[in-house]
């Protein structure tokens, strides 16, 4: 295991971003900041996904050159995580957009973005 290889760094960075995202979600009182935390959490996950698809010293899975079209499995990185991350990004987009709209609506209701103020429902 090479500690400073690109795949390892991206994996660790992904996890760090993910943890920072969780930290943001758990500690920030401002709803928008929580949403940003959530975005970071998502992004961290995406980086991890891509990192996991990496195959050492291989190229992108696009067979636009003839030499790639034979014995392909030996030459490209894993296309599946890339496909998955695409889906995940879009999902993240949809969720984030919805969260933001919620945040906007909440602000309309109480004119504050402090999550602690929205505790009418409890127990």
């Amino acid at each position: 295991m090479q500690l400073f290889s690109i795949e390892y760094i991206s994996l660790v960075v992904g996890f760090l971003i993910l943890l920072i995202g969780i930290w943001g979600i758990l500690t920030r009182k401002n709803i928008l900041k929580m949403v940003i935390g959530f975005s970071l959490f998502d992004t961290g996950t995406h980086i991890i996904i891509v990192a996991l698809g990496y195959v050492r010293n291989k190229t992108a899975p696009i067979l636009d050159q003839a030499n790639l079209q034979t014995n392909t499995a030996q030459k490209i990185v894993d296309p599946v995580p890339q496909a998955l991350v695409l889906t995940a990004i879009v999902i993240g987009l949809g969720v984030t957009a919805l969260m933001l709209v919620y945040a906007m609506k909440l602000h309309n209701e109480k004119k504050t973005l402090n999550i602690e103020k929205y505790n009418d429902l409890k127990w």
Binding site: F38, E109, Y118, N119
Partner: protein, 1043 residues
């Protein structure tokens, strides 16, 4: 067969097409959606039918023309067909229910709803993990949209919390999925199941993340505050869909992925589920908002289901049956309850009294509550039975205890709620609007509970042999509830008579005795029903249900049949009891004690079934494991019904507040169910020893003796006539318990004969006093007095009743006492025996008080014109008096047959009969001769007196020697209030309500605990996220045992 892919294509296509619909075409859009959902339901139901009826093979659906794992595939198997059917039906009826709301919202609303149903369908069918993630997200987003169908601060805040929570959860899920892919190179669930586990720790962690996310989707305690908020705030129609749809689908995902977990994880899962089940129901105790309450219940039920999954290793092949029957019950009941809540639109459960304005909804409300808690004939009853039985056979008692405690807690708040709906005042409340499109789904689901219940019982190997006809007849009375009382009463009596006629030849042994008490007793007390006018709605179905249960006890061939009948009886009697004007709290405590007792019985039967080849009642006679526990559990279960000391606190109120003819039913007849249970138990199991030397039956003997004394003492201090009689029942039942505990011929002879006479004299007394109360409109004895002048017939009934009760010769009550003396001598239980006789003396106190305070003394001014009790209430009384006098004169007409029944079990120590002359080891007694002699002396003296005192002048009420004055007011000279003040001063300390206080303390403690726990749901969305993360970490630590 329509391919299942068309479910998806239809829903999705229609959802996309709805974008084309303008605002003016909302009705069209709605119709299209309903048709699409109906079509989807049709497809899945068709598959379900195919699997069930034609035994089709499961079918894989491949997408993109490639085989898995290279492309995503779906599976339509038996399970999937069932679950998609549930989802689509929920969607279909949910849309019908929400028709008006959706129409107002327009196409986006329909789109959201269809999206959710679509998502749920796919997560059920898909065999690809990432695909599962995608469609889980679809349903989450759609749910977030559904929540804001009604937009206000609450829904928006709840929706936001929901989005945050599901966002985090799905992030964790995604993390797990991608690592699972990394380690295995596939995303196909079937492949994962084949791999099962890898040596790499990382894989285990990845699987853990996947599973824990699914667990979190199921809203485990305590990481579920967001779910509660959604249930509380969302429109009831939406909450119904979330509870019935999302929870159902998430459960199935868990079910599907379960094999991924290690056995160790399964135990953790079971623990999570149980904590959720108990915790959620405990916290529900203090809740007063109906939707949030249903949320607690919903989460709790899902917790129970999770427990079942976690315990699947123990449950084996029965897992499916158990889980599905409970799940379907929950599905139907919870959707129905949320829907009703949406019609009622009350945010306090106390305001649900308004539900009485609509009879149909009220009935359905009751049906759903009983379905949820697991009463027969609803499916979850059979599920719970199998669950407990299977756990017992694996020695898993801890889980049994937990599950039963959780169920009991759930019963507390659900029955309290039902009580509120049935009894609280609703005069001030405006009626609610009822639309057919809202009622239709509820009615369909309500009907489905019965259908599914019947279906479930028909596939259960033991449930299918239960005789359901009596219950069906009772339920049929619901349909003719509109008829006037005399028609229904006649029909009810005929039905009972016919059934007894049909049953009579099959009855033998103790079954014959108790069968007579139950059926003949039922008929006799029903006669009093003619006194009622109008329709008396809701009485006959439940009265007959109670009798159906009672007779079912006797007919029961299996322990399941017995338990089934027991529960049917409980339901029927609950509704009878709650009919009384002030019965609400008493009916609740009756129900809770009954449930508690029933659960003990359930546990007892479960342990008894361990290692047996079938569930026959006879298996009780050769219990293989923990026979002492079985005995104690069953005995205590029965003792809750016989109201032994410590378990008696429900009885006085329940019996006293009941209606005139209900009191005798529940007090004189129903209590004998417990006696019958004890008889059955004692005969089957004999005595058991605790720790090898303390006899349980010996302890029960003491309990019986003390109950007899305390019951009678408390009766002596009552001001309320019916309460007095109720406590008297406690005493007599203690007496009977003592007699049975003697375990000898004579002990049983007296116990069984007292069971019979108690039925007669207690019916007599309750009817007579009920008739008086009917006329004078009060139950306080000191408000009556001198009524012998106005109600001589009732007086005579009470006179005969108390003479028999007190056991005075020459009437038949004495036979019991006489046999007792002999039995006590033979058994050498002198001290207990002395207590029993002491209790008999105390019986004099309250019997005299009863007759004096009501009928003798000073007639009150307001009662001078009061009429004799209604004719039809007197009729059964005089029938009973006739029989009592016959038994008194010819005692062996009663005792000899009972002796014959007892002889096979206790052959020695019986009575020798010569005519009416009975001889025991110790003494002798001739009832008939005594009868004649006493009557002869009496007549002689009477004639002597009349000769000496003829032409005695009748004087007025106040013409008495009263300190040289005449009293001017009956109140001041009617000595009745606190009649035994001096006695109370002497030994009143014995009747301090210590036991009631103890139970109240328990209740208060549970409520306080629940209240404390629920404070963690502080309403702050961020805290909920912390709960989720902490939950993950803690479960991780538990699962992997540190790191």
């Amino acid at each position: 067969m329509v391919a299942p892919i068309y479910i998806i294509a239809t829903l999705l296509g229609v959802a996309f097409a709805l974008g084309l619909f303008g605002k003016k075409m909302n009705s069209m859009a709605g119709l299209l959606s309903v048709v699409a959902l109906g079509f989807a339901s049709f497809i899945s139901l068709e598959w379900l039918a195919g699997f069930w009826l034609y035994d089709r093979a499961a079918e894989y659906i491949y997408t993109a023309g490639f085989k898995p794992p290279f492309s995503i595939n779906l599976l339509m198997g038996k399970d999937e067909a069932l679950f998609t059917s549930l989802i689509n039906i929920a969607g279909f009826f949910g849309t019908v229910y929400l028709w008006d709301k959706l129409k107002k919202i327009g196409s986006n609303g329909y789109v959201t709803l269809m999206g959710m149903i679509l998502g749920l369908n796919v997560i059920i069918m898909t065999r690809d993990l990432f695909n599962l993630f995608v469609f889980l997200e679809i349903s989450s987003i759609a749910t977030a949209g559904l929540i804001i169908f009604s937009q206000n601060l609450k829904t928006i805040a709840a929706g936001f919390k929901y989005m945050l929570a599901t966002g985090i959860i799905s992030g964790i899920l995604l993390l797990g999925i991608i690592f699972m892919y990394y380690f295995t190179g596939t995303l196909n669930i079937d492949d994962f199941l084949a791999v099962h586990s890898l040596a790499v720790k990382g894989f285990g962690v990845a699987v853990f993340f996947v599973l824990i996310s699914i667990v979190l989707e199921l809203k485990p305690f305590p990481a579920n505050g967001w779910g509660l908020d959604v249930y509380e705030s969302a429109d009831s129609g939406i909450a119904a869909m979330i509870s019935a749809g999302t929870a159902t689908a998430s459960f199935f995902v868990m079910y599907k992925l379960l094999p991924l977990g290690t056995p160790q994880f399964h135990m953790v899962l079971a623990g999570i589920g149980l904590a959720t089940f108990i915790g959620s129901n405990l916290m529900g105790l203090k809740q007063t908002n109906p939707n949030r309450l249903l949320g607690y219940s919903s989460i709790g039920q899902v917790g129970l289901l999770v427990t079942i999954l976690g315990l699947s290793e123990f449950l084996g092949e029965r897992t499916t049956f158990i889980a599905y029957s409970i799940l379907i019950s929950h599905f139907l009941a919870k959707a129905g309850l949320f829907w009703i809540s949406g019609i009622v639109k009350r945010s306090e459960i106390k305001e649900w009294a308004v539900l009485r304005n609509n009879r149909l909804l009220l009935i359905l409300f009751g049906v759903f509550i009983f379905t949820l808690i697991g009463f027969p004939p609803f499916p979850s009853f059979f599920g719970k039975w199998d669950l407990v039985l299977n756990m017992a056979s694996n020695n898993q008692y801890f889980w049994i205890v937990g599950i039963l405690i959780g169920s009991l807690l759930e019963g507390v708040y659900l029955f309290r709620w039902l009580g509120y709906a049935l009894k609280l005042d609703n005069a001030e409340m405006p009626a609610f609007e009822v639309k057919w499109n809202k009622v239709l789904p509820i009615a369909v689901f309500g009907a489905a509970t019965f259908v599914v219940g019947y279906f479930v019982s028909s596939i259960h190997p033991y449930a299918k042999i239960i005789n359901y006809i009596p219950l069906a007849v009772a339920l049929a009375f619901v349909l003719i509830d509109f008829l006037p009382v005399y028609v229904k009463n006649t029909l009810a009596i005929l039905a009972m008579a016919y059934y007894y006629y049909y049953l009579y030849p099959t009855l033998s042994s103790f079954g014959a005795v108790f069968g007579a008490i139950f059926m003949v007793g039922g008929i006799v007390t029903l006669i009093a029903g003619y006194a009622f006018k109008g329709q008396r709605r809701g009485f006959y179905p439940f009265a007959l249900m109670m009798f159906a249960g009672l007779i079912g006890l006797i007919e029961a061939k299996t322990t399941l049949g017995f338990f089934y009948a027991w529960e049917v009886m409980t339901v029927g009697s609950y509704f009878l009891i709650i009919r009384g004007k002030k019965s609400m709290p008493h009916a609740l405590s009756y129900m809770l004690f009954s449930m508690g007792g029933a659960y003990l019985m359930l546990a007892g039967f479960a342990i008894a079934s361990v290692g047996q080849f079938n569930l026959d009642m006879s298996t009780l006679s050769h219990v293989l494991v923990h026979p002492t526990w079985v005995f104690i559990l069953l005995a205590v279960g029965f003792l809750t019904k016989t109201a032994s000391l410590g378990l008696h606190i429900w009885l006085p109120g329940a019996h006293a507040e009941a209606e005139t003819d209900v009191s005798p039913m529940v007090s004189a007849i129903l209590l004998k169910a417990g006696v019958f249970g004890l008889v059955t138990l004692f005969l089957a199991m004999g005595d058991q020893l605790i720790g090898g030397d303390v006899s349980v039956i010996y302890l029960l003997g003491w309990l019986g003796a003390i109950t007899a004394v305390m019951g009678n003492l408390m009766a002596a201090f009552q001001e309320d006539a019916k309460r007095l009689l109720a406590y008297s029942s406690v005493g007599v039942l203690g007496y009977i318990l003592f007699g049975l505990s003697l375990m000898s011929h004579l002990g049983w002879l007296s116990a069984v004969s007292i069971s019979v006479t108690h039925f007669m004299f207690k019916s007599l007394l309750f009817l007579a006093i009920g008739g008086v109360v009917w006329r004078v409109k009060t139950k306080e004895m000191y408000r009556m007095g001198g009524l012998i002048k106005r109600m001589p017939f009732s007086f005579f009934s009470v006179l005969i009743g108390i003479i028999v009760l007190a056991g005075l010769p020459p009437l038949s009550g004495f036979s019991g006492k006489w046999i007792f003396y002999n039995a006590v001598m033979a058994k050498e239980w002198y001290l207990q025996g002395a207590l029993i006789f002491f209790s008999g003396m105390i019986a004099f106190l309250y019997t005299f008080r009863l007759i004096h305070s009501v009928f003798l003394g000073q007639l009150k001014d307001e009662h001078r014109e009061v009429k004799e009790a209604p004719f039809w209430i007197l009729v059964p009384q005089y029938m009973i008096i006739g029989v009592l006098l016959y038994f008194s004169a010819i005692p062996n007409s009663l005792l000899k047959p009972i002796g014959k029944i007892i002889s096979p079990y206790f052959p020695t120590g019986g009575l020798e009969w010569t005519g009416q002359h009975a001889v025991s080891t110790y003494g002798y007694w001739n009832g008939l001769v005594i009868f004649y002699i006493v009557i002869a002396i009496f007549v002689t003296v009477l004639v002597w007196l009349i000769i000496n005192n003829r032409k005695a002048q009748k004087v007025k009420q106040f013409n008495i020697v009263f300190a040289a004055e005449r009293p001017f007011k009956p109140e001041t000279s009617h000595y009745a209030y606190n009649f035994y003040a001096h006695y109370r001063k002497a030994i009143g300390i014995l009747v301090e309500p210590k036991i009631t206080g103890w139970w109240e303390g328990v209740a208060e403690w549970a409520h306080a605990m629940g209240d404390k726990f629920r404070k963690i749901y502080n309403g702050n969305g961020q805290s909920y996220l912390i709960h989720i993360m902490a939950f993950i970490v803690i479960i991780y630590l538990i699962s992997f045992g540190g790191f």
